[in-house]
Symmetry: C2
Subunit: 360 residues, 2 copies
Amino acid sequence: VILDVPATPPGAIPTVAWRSDSPTGIPGAVEFLDQTALPQEARVLRCTTVEEVRDAIRRLAVRGAPAIGVAGAYGLVAGVQSAADAGPAEVDAALRAHAARLREARPTAVNLGWALDRCQAAARHERSGASTVAAVLAQAREIQAQDEAACAAMGRNALPLLRHGGTYLTHCNSGRLATAGIGTAFGVFVTAMAAGLSPKVFVGEVRPLLQGARLTAFELAERGIAGCLIPDTAAGALLASGRIDAVFVGADRIARNGDTANKIGTYALAEIARANCVPFHVVAPTSTLDAEIPDGSFIPIEERDPREVLAFRGVRSAPEGFPVWNPAFDVTPAHLIATVVTELAVHTPPYDFARRPAGR
Amino acid sequence: VILDVPATPPGAIPTVAWRSDSPTGIPGAVEFLDQTALPQEARVLRCTTVEEVRDAIRRLAVRGAPAIGVAGAYGLVAGVQSAADAGPAEVDAALRAHAARLREARPTAVNLGWALDRCQAAARHERSGASTVAAVLAQAREIQAQDEAACAAMGRNALPLLRHGGTYLTHCNSGRLATAGIGTAFGVFVTAMAAGLSPKVFVGEVRPLLQGARLTAFELAERGIAGCLIPDTAAGALLASGRIDAVFVGADRIARNGDTANKIGTYALAEIARANCVPFHVVAPTSTLDAEIPDGSFIPIEERDPREVLAFRGVRSAPEGFPVWNPAFDVTPAHLIATVVTELAVHTPPYDFARRPAGR
């Protein structure tokens, strides 16, 4: 059975796209579905400079490790396209400067640096501004296409982990809004739906930015998958209730030993799932694997603005100026993870992602 | 050392109070600090009928198991005071009807039914409307005074569980806004502060109604205790970080075997605390013990309105009409609880609260 589900539902705004009126693709702009306005409003955010793309990534107008990789690659195209008429030394300097600027937009996801590295490597042997820009654009498009294919493959690979009519818990958003395809963990549910398994999916709100309530609930509705929203605080009771067959989450970075950084709150779900004998699966493309680091203690954890916690969309919820700790990610130790599903394989413990597979 | 900390900080509005211009206390009204408006506004809610008090309890203008008990008792006074001139049969019928109406305001906390039982029992042998009303008011005042004394005793009893300069995690609100005294679990921090132990207290926001962000942060500021607010999703990372010396929570109902119903999210903290070797303590007055039920599976769990989860203080945060599961409480199994601290003792496993101590 070939399960061909479009990355973007018909009529919907794509998560990330390169738009150009020219057949060469240059000049052009990166367009995002502005995720900060969801679910109230689906609007396009158009960026033509590196700073605009960097700002979009930092403000989480685009988020999700694979989507950030694609966004960064197109951001690099947006940055260097003005150097299309310049000499090789000048365009090379622009490439380096723009890549460095984009790389630091968010520290935890490994895909951003990985995509920028690929684009820079693709341009290494080009001898003119125009060919450099063309090479970076071609590479960015390839990264997008590969991620779309990887999502489809992850969904197929994970299917044996689901049963007909099963009920699952996921966390944050790992769907088409986080990738260039149908998603990582969320893509598993999209694939299961297409395969006729009728999954039911619970998701927490995911404070502080409510990606579960705003984005995953939106995608569940968009795909016609049965869903149910819970406060983050209800995840323990849900996992203890016996109603959840398995937990599926995405990842922002996976260390060599399988320790996995993902949205804050993931570790708690893994620990409670273990206590209640519920399998906990991580679904991520091989671009998320970081063979450079031996374990999760080496993953930098981004801490975000206290104002995200003190208020929601401008409505204050705590005393003014109260101290806040607001880490964006946590690390789930490998021993709590039943499988790591990539586009290439279903890995089981003990994990050893020492070498990235060829071609990625 | 006698640690005499006022239940209500100087100049602040009390959580629950009976107000009357008459020396007999009749007629009068129940006044609440309206907790739905905190932290933006501290305003008084005045109730003169059973329906107003019932509505205040249901809307969570007053919440917290011990405070609900006191509110219910004064609500009964508000209900029967108009029958002060009636005969014994008529006042007895009014007493039963009002108690039944108040009892069903919230199903999980055992203190509400317990307080109403006490008030009804106190009026049993009265022979006139006036003496019945006076007996119910006296009993309500005694319940309030006993809860204030119980809070102080719980704080003293728990002190040996803290160290100088320790850092603690609590959940929801169990302070003066939840009781008639300094609080249960929160009262431990107030007592530790008065004893010079300089505690530092982390608290989650506690979605959906944000009692941690709105109420506990407010009380930490009010008492000058060092505090830090986290999104509920960050509790796992915090407990895994090694920074937390112990978790202290209140309770809404404790079964004979020690299984404890408390605000949704409590069970998850207990499970994660256990996995990280952090002691987990329950602090509650003996009025919270329910010797009638053998274990937590017999505790009714209130499910609340989905609209609490679909919006955040009036700002919509999820797709309109999306399905929601919104349980108000969960049950922490006794095996995860290091101690149950009451006003009488520090209990350790195995718990057996078969008989309520005399006089309560």
